[in-house]
């Protein structure tokens, strides 16, 4: 892993959302490398492979077939090698239960998928440039949900 670019992963079963995601990073002039996965199983296979490059930030959709976002989150937090990865929940839902559950299980931030492309770009650039060390130490339930 070189320090030249930021490594980003996204696990989302929705093809359109994956497209918006990669398009947004293409348009943002940030030096990033984005890998996408179609579901939780694919993501975990990649992460558990000892040769794979671990992402700096992992975006997790909640509602996925085979293995959903919460299951992935639990698995990652249990794994010593993986539990330092910053995890951003990336979901359509903004229900209290989902926010609460992922917060308790150790996610770093909760992003509600925006309905405007410009908004999406803004959010993503913000998330990617967060100083995670600083953010994690001051994490509480109020700043967990990302607001712009």
């Amino acid at each position: 892993m070189t320090a030249d670019y930021i490594n980003i992963c996204l696990a989302d079963d929705d093809e359109d959302d994956r497209l918006f995601f990669t398009d947004a990073f293409d348009e943002l002039k940030i030096n990033t490398r984005v890998s996408t996965f179609n579901d939780g199983v694919e993501l975990m296979d990649y992460l558990n492979h000892s040769d794979s490059v671990l992402p700096n930030v992992l975006f997790l959709d909640l509602n996925m077939p085979k293995k959903n976002g919460v299951e992935c989150l639990l698995e990652i937090k249990k794994n010593e090698r993986l539990n330092d990865i910053a995890i951003a929940i990336y979901s359509t839902s903004s229900s209290e239960e989902h926010i609460e559950e992922t917060f308790i299980n150790g996610a770093n931030i909760y992003i509600k998928k925006p309905s405007d492309f410009e908004n999406l770009k803004k959010i993503l650039s913000e998330v990617v440039t967060i100083n995670w060390q600083y953010h994690t130490s001051g994490l509480n339930k109020d700043n967990f949900l990302m607001r712009l």
Binding site: S95, K113, P114, S115, D116, F117, L120
Partner: protein, 594 residues
């Protein structure tokens, strides 16, 4: 019912019986003693007579001896000497008899001794005179002297005997007096004790009679109570049983038999015969529950199934406990009731509850669909539109650009609709946690939330002091937000909106809409100077999706006021609207003060 006098009287009657028997024995004893005394007394009388006769005999024998001696002295006839010679033996015999007869009297014995002396003296002189006469060698003087002594001695004897007779008489008299004294007071004693016995027996009789009357009354009351109980058992569908703890015998009431479909008292009442009717699946359970009743003194209620004689399955509930009955014995009393209908009704309610629960779950699932699945495609439409606008807007024809704007506005409208709908269902679903909250604070946060709009419209919101109430805080805040934003939304275009919030406490009967009771309510009014509405729509506006205006004129989903109504209902309150077209509208919220 009074039982106490009844079960105490046997003791009383026993005491009376014992006392009576003792008295009768006493009287018997006294009578026996008296008869003995009487017998003795007559013995004394005859003894006295015998003594007297014997004494007379004695003196006559001595006289015979004297007469014989005198006759011989005068006539020299030997035949006169026979009584004289006989008299010695007869006197001795007679004296002995007297001595025996008077053996128990010391006075008489001493008298007898003196008498014996005189008799001996007399006899000596008689024989001495006779002897001198035989010899013929006595002078006239001596002879005469002897005769004088004889006479004197004879007098002494006579005196002594008279004395003895009189002594005997006195003795008899004394004894007679003693006897009479005894005889005098005993009849009185017997009479008195008899009277006492009679009184006691009379009291016992009265007591027994009274007990009998009481007993008859009690039996009467009991049989009425019994009949009433039987009737109650039939009407109430329950039976009773009791277990005599001394004899270990069960008794079942008539209805207990009817409950299991049998004729009353048609079989012997035992635990085993009853258990035969219990449903095989519940048998162990029933056995377990009833095995310990004697130790626990209590049978807590439990429900089980039985199979009636006609094979119908019924649900029974039994319970019982030890009671102390009047006689001081303990009895275990239990009741059995047929609770089949109750159990069925309960099952029905449970089933309904399950149905409700499942339909609630369906609603939750619907909610999830609304919150997630419906928003998903909408978001896609919006994001693609935003991409289209940012990338290819310039390439579109003016008509195309118009269409894009319309699509965007429709999508936006749908987003608001979904959001409001979700809000509405969450008001229903969310946990209703009531806590003390200052309504002034809630109003301030509501105003804070609406600050941009308030500022934009230059609105003026006035309010007086609001109370602190036990409410669901976020809901009341939502209520305030919805009411204020409603007023802001329907404000007149050319004047700045004014909202006056007023609060006062009223009695329930002061407002028509409130129930007719004594509860106090807070009446909170929101009065604005907006476009108002016609009064005929005053109730319609609270119905979900109901709007009075075209959506092009005023933005809105028709959900806001429906949410208000829901919130107020959650707080057991009421909300009414009053409107006047082009003047303004007033929303009044009533919240219970307690």
């Amino acid at each position: 019912m009074k039982y106490i006098p009844l079960h105490k009287s046997p003791l009383f009657l026993k005491i009376i019986f014992i006392v009576s028997v003792a008295i009768i024995f006493f009287i018997g004893g006294i009578t026996f003693k008296h008869i003995t005394v009487l017998k003795k007394s007559s013995a004394w009388v005859s003894n006295s007579y015998e003594v007297n006769i014997e004494l007379e005999c004695l003196i006559s024998y001595i006289k015979d001896a004297e007469t014989g001696q005198r006759g011989y002295l005068l006539s020299k006839d030997e035949s006169f000497l026979t009584p004289y010679n006989n008299s010695k033996k007869l006197v001795k015999q007679s004296f002995k008899r007297v001595s025996i007869l008077t053996a128990n009297s010391r006075t008489q014995q001493s008298n007898l001794k003196k008498l014996l002396y005189f008799i001996n003296k007399k006899q000596n002189y008689l024989s001495k005179t006779l002897y001198l006469h035989e010899l013929g060698m006595y002078d006239e003087k001596t002879f005469k002297n002897n005769l004088i002594i004889e006479k004197k001695t004879m007098d002494s004897i006579r005196l002594k005997i008279e004395d003895m007779i009189s002594t005997q008489k006195t003795l008899l008299q004394n004894r007679q007096q003693d006897y009479e004294a005894t005889m005098n007071y005993t009849p009185l004693l017997i009479y008195l004790t008899l009277i006492v016995t009679l009184i006691l027996i009379t009291i016992a009789f009265i007591k027994m009679n009274r007990d009998l009357v009481l007993l008859r009354k009690t039996i009467n009351t009991l049989s009425v109570a019994n009949e009433a109980n039987n009737l109650a058992e039939i009407v109430g569908g329950f039976g009773s049983w009791h277990l005599n703890l001394e004899t270990n015998q069960y008794t079942f009431s008539d209805n207990e038999y009817r409950l299991i479909g049998c004729d009353p008292q048609s079989f012997e009442a035992t635990r085993a015969t009853f258990l035969k009717f219990v449903h095989p699946d519940d048998l162990e359970f029933v056995k377990q529950n009833t095995s310990n009743i004697l130790n626990d003194n209590d049978l807590p209620p439990f429900t089980y199934r039985i199979i009636r004689k006609d094979n119908e399955i019924r649900y029974f509930r039994s319970l019982g406990r030890i009671v102390n009955i009047a006689s001081g014995n303990k009895t275990f009393i239990g009741t059995t009731s047929d609770v089949t209908e109750e159990v069925y009704a309960k099952n029905l309610v449970e089933e309904r509850n399950r149905e409700l629960e499942s339909s609630n779950k369906e609603l939750t699932a619907f909610n999830y669909i609304a919150s997630h699945d419906l928003q998903e495609p909408l978001r896609k439409i919006e994001i693609f539109m935003s991409r289209l606008v940012s990338k290819d807007y310039a390439n579109l024809s003016p008509a195309g650009q118009q269409y894009v704007a319309s699509i965007q506005s429709s999508a936006n409208r749908m987003r608001v609709l979904i959001k409001d709908l979700l809000h509405f269902s969450r008001i229903n679903k969310a946990e209703k946690i009531f806590e003390e909250a200052d309504l002034n604070y809630l109003l301030e946060t509501a105003k804070h939330e609406l600050a941009p709009t308030i500022e934009e419209k230059k609105a003026l919101i006035e309010s007086n002091e609001l109370p602190t109430l036990n409410v669901i805080p976020f809901q009341i805040q939502q209520l305030f937000i919805n009411l204020i934003s409603n007023s802001l939304k329907y404000s007149k275009e050319n004047s700045s909106p004014t909202i006056k919030i007023n609060c006062e406490m009223i009695d329930a009967h002061e407002a028509e809409i409130l129930p007719d009771n004594n509860i106090k309510y807070y009446k909170i009014t929101f009065k604005d100077n907006g476009i108002g509405f016609e009064q005929e729509y005053a109730t319609k506006i609270f119905i979900l999706f109901n709007r009075l205006h075209n959506k092009n004129e005023y933005q809105g989903t028709g959900i806001g006021l429906a949410i208000c109504q829901k919130i107020v209902e959650n707080h057991k309150g009421f909300i009414v609207a009053k409107g006047e077209l082009n003047v303004g509208s007033t929303f009044t919220v009533y919240l219970p003060a307690e």
